[in-house]
Subunit: 341 residues, 2 copies
C-alpha cells in the first residue's frame, strides 16, 4: 500500500467542501474555507493544505466557532472598511470586505480592511494575491495565540504574526511573500511533532526558557521570533496594528479566550491596499516596468524570489491536474465524512 494518496484538483475541492458541509458549515462558509485550503494544497503548502480540514472541524466541535454567521460590513471611514465575522472563520468576512477595500483604494489611493471577531487559521498569501490580481499592492497581517517570546524573553507574548505582501507585475504571477515573524510557523512544528522529528535550534525554548530541539517540548514552551530584535519588533507591530488598532484581541487575549480548548486563534486581521496607478502617477506603466529591474537583479545572480517555489508547485499541480497527500491524512479526512454523514 502506498504512503501517499493522489487526488485530482477537482476531487480535492469536492472533498474539502463535502467535509466542511457535512461537519455543519453553511455552504458560503464551506466554499470560502475550502478555497484557501485548496489553494494551499495546490501550491504544496502542506501545513495550510488539506491537513487544515482536521483543524477546522476540530475547532468547530469545540463549540467556539460559528458555522453560519453572516459577516456584517461597516463603511467606517473613506479609507477603512470593517467586517465583523461574528465568531466565524475569517474567510467569508474577507470575501465580503475585499470588493469594498479595492473600491476604496482606487478612490483614496490607500485603504484598509479590518476583519474583526474571527477565527483564523489560513495563510495570508491567497488574500494578498487576490488583491494583486486586481492590480493593487496589498499588505496583510494577523496576530494568533501568544506562543512566541519577545527577543530577550522566555515566555510567549506574540503570536506567530504573519506578514504577507503582494505586488502586481505587468505579466505573470505577482511578487508575493507571506512569512511568520516566528522563526518557524506553528504548523511546521506541529508537523515535526506528528512525524516524530527534531526541530532546528533557534525555533523555540522549552517551558523553562531553555533552547530545545524537541517539537513536543517546543509546543509546551515558547517559540522564538526570526531575526532577533528586529523580527521581535516587527512582530510587536503586527500585534498592535492587527490587534488593538482595529479594536480586536492581542495574541495574549486570544490565548486567554481559548481557555485551553486548543481551538484556532480568535482575533482580527488587517489588510492594506494601495492603488499603484494613483501612487505612481501618470507614468505608472514606466514605473511598474522599472520594478521589474529589481526582480531581474535578484534572479540574474542565481537567487530566488520569495514566491518562486510555490508558483513552481502550482505549475506542477496544474500540469498534472492532481495533488498528493500522505495516505494517513487522507484516511483521517475520510473518517471526518463517515462520522458525520
Amino acid at each position: 500500500m502506498s504512503d501517499t494518496h493522489t487526488l485530482s484538483l477537482d476531487d480535492a475541492w469536492s472533498l474539502s467542501v463535502r467535509i466542511l458541509e457535512s461537519n455543519g458549515f453553511s455552504p458560503d462558509h464551506a466554499r470560502a474555507i475550502a478555497r484557501t485550503i485548496w489553494q494551499g494544497q495546490r501550491d504544496e503548502c502542506h501545513s495550510h493544505g488539506l491537513y487544515r480540514l482536521l483543524v477546522c472541524t476540530h475547532t468547530l466541535k469545540t463549540g467556539k466557532v460559528s458555522a453560519n454567521a453572516v459577516p456584517e460590513l461597516t463603511d467606517a471611514a473613506p479609507g477603512l472598511v470593517r467586517v465583523d465575522a461574528r465568531g466565524a472563520y475569517s474567510l467569508l468576512a474577507y470575501d465580503t470586505g475585499r470588493p469594498v477595500l479595492i473600491e476604496k483604494a482606487r478612490k483614496q489611493g490607500i485603504a484598509a480592511l479590518a476583519i474583526n471577531h474571527c477565527y483564523h487559521f489560513s495563510a495570508l498569501w491567497p488574500e494578498v494575491e487576490a488583491i494583486a490580481a486586481e492590480g493593487l499592492v496589498a499588505l496583510a497581517m494577523t496576530p494568533s495565540h501568544s506562543w512566541v517570546a519577545p527577543h530577550g524573553g522566555t515566555k510567549g507574548v506574540f503570536g506567530t504574526n504573519p506578514l504577507a505582501f503582494a505586488w502586481p507585475r505587468p505579466e505573470g504571477n505577482p511578487f508575493v511573500f507571506d512569512f511568520a515573524t516566528s522563526a518557524a510557523a506553528r504548523g511546521e512544528i506541529e508537523l515535526h511533532r506528528r512525524a516524530g522529528k527534531a526541530i532546528p535550534e533557534g525555533w523555540a525554548v522549552d517551558s523553562d526558557g531553555q533552547t530545545t530541539t524537541d517539537a513536543e517540548a517546543a509546543m509546551k514552551g515558547a517559540m522564538l521570533t526570526f531575526g532577533g530584535h528586529k523580527g521581535s519588533a516587527l512582530s510587536a507591530m503586527i500585534e498592535l496594528m492587527a490587534g488593538p488598532l482595529i479594536g480586536d484581541f492581542l495574541s495574549l487575549e486570544s490565548q486567554a479566550y481559548d481557555a485551553g480548548a486548543g481551538a484556532t486563534p480568535y482575533h482580527g486581521e488587517l489588510i492594506l491596499a494601495i492603488d499603484p496607478k494613483i501612487f505612481m502617477g501618470a507614468d505608472h506603466a514606466v514605473h511598474s516596468q522599472r520594478a521589474e529591474a529589481l526582480f531581474d537583479a535578484v534572479l540574474g545572480q542565481g537567487a530566488r524570489l520569495p514566491s518562486q517555489r510555490r508558483y513552481e508547485a502550482r505549475a506542477r499541480s496544474e500540469a498534472s491536474g492532481t495533488v498528493t497527500i500522505p495516505q494517513a491524512l487522507y484516511d483521517d479526512l475520510q473518517a471526518l465524512i463517515s462520522e458525520d454523514e
Copy 2:
C-alpha cells in the same frame, strides 16, 4: 588631552546649524537637517548624530545635492500627499508634508506621504515619532544605495532599507522601532572601518561573495540582510513601496545615479499614517489601554522594548544638558567651519 569632547545640547544645536549654514545650506534646510542630527546625538545614536554633518557637507561639495530648493507639495489623492524635494535633502520636504499627511489621516483613517527626488541620510525614528506625538500610528521606509545582496545572492541589489514604526501611548514616550533590513546599518560598518575594528560574521560578503569580517572588504563587497529569506523579502517590499510605487528610484538606480561620487543616496521615502481614533472606533481609549498589556508582558519578563535604550540615553542627555562625542570628530567638525567662514 581627553579622547572625547562634551558640548551642551544648545551648543550641539548651534554648531550643527552653523556648520550647515556656513557650508551653504539655506536657513530652512539647515534647521530641518540640524534637527534630526541633534535628535540623533541627544539619543546617542552616534552613527546618525553629529558625525553625519561630515557626510552632509561632503555630499554638498560633490555638487549633487541642492542647498536651497523649496519643496513642492501636491495633493495627489484623498489618501496621498506628495512632496517633491527637488534634489535637496529629505528633511525639509518631510516637514512640509507632515501636517498635510496628518490632516489626511484624520479625515480618511489612513493616508500616505510620498517624498520624491531627495537625498536621504537621516534616521526615520524622529519622523515617525513626530507623527505619534500627534496621536497617530506611523510607518516609514526608504531604499538607499544597492549595497545589500538578496538572500541566496552575492551582489548588492537592495539598500539598507530601514523600516520605522511608531505607536502613540496614553502616557510617556511612544513605542518606536527603526531598523535597517540589512544585518547592520551601513553607518555601523563605516564606524568599524574608521576605528579599524573587525565586523561580526553575517554582516557582509567581500567582492568575491565570500563571508568577511573585514570592514574595508565589506564596504567594497555586499552587505547581507537580517533574518535570512524573511529579512530579504521585507527589504524587497521596502524597495518596491518606497521606490517604483511612489515613482522614484530603486537602490540600484540610486547607486547608478551616484556614478561613484560616494554621495548620499538619492531616492524617495514613503510614510504611512493611521488615525487610531478612527480605526479603534468609539472605544478607542479602552483599546489604546489594552495595547499597554503587550508592553507590560514584554517588560514583565525582563525583556526590553525596541526604543528603550534610546529613551534612556535621551533622559541622560536631557538631565545633564550635554552630549559627548569623540575629540577627533569634534576637531573634524571645527575644521568644517574654519574652512568656510
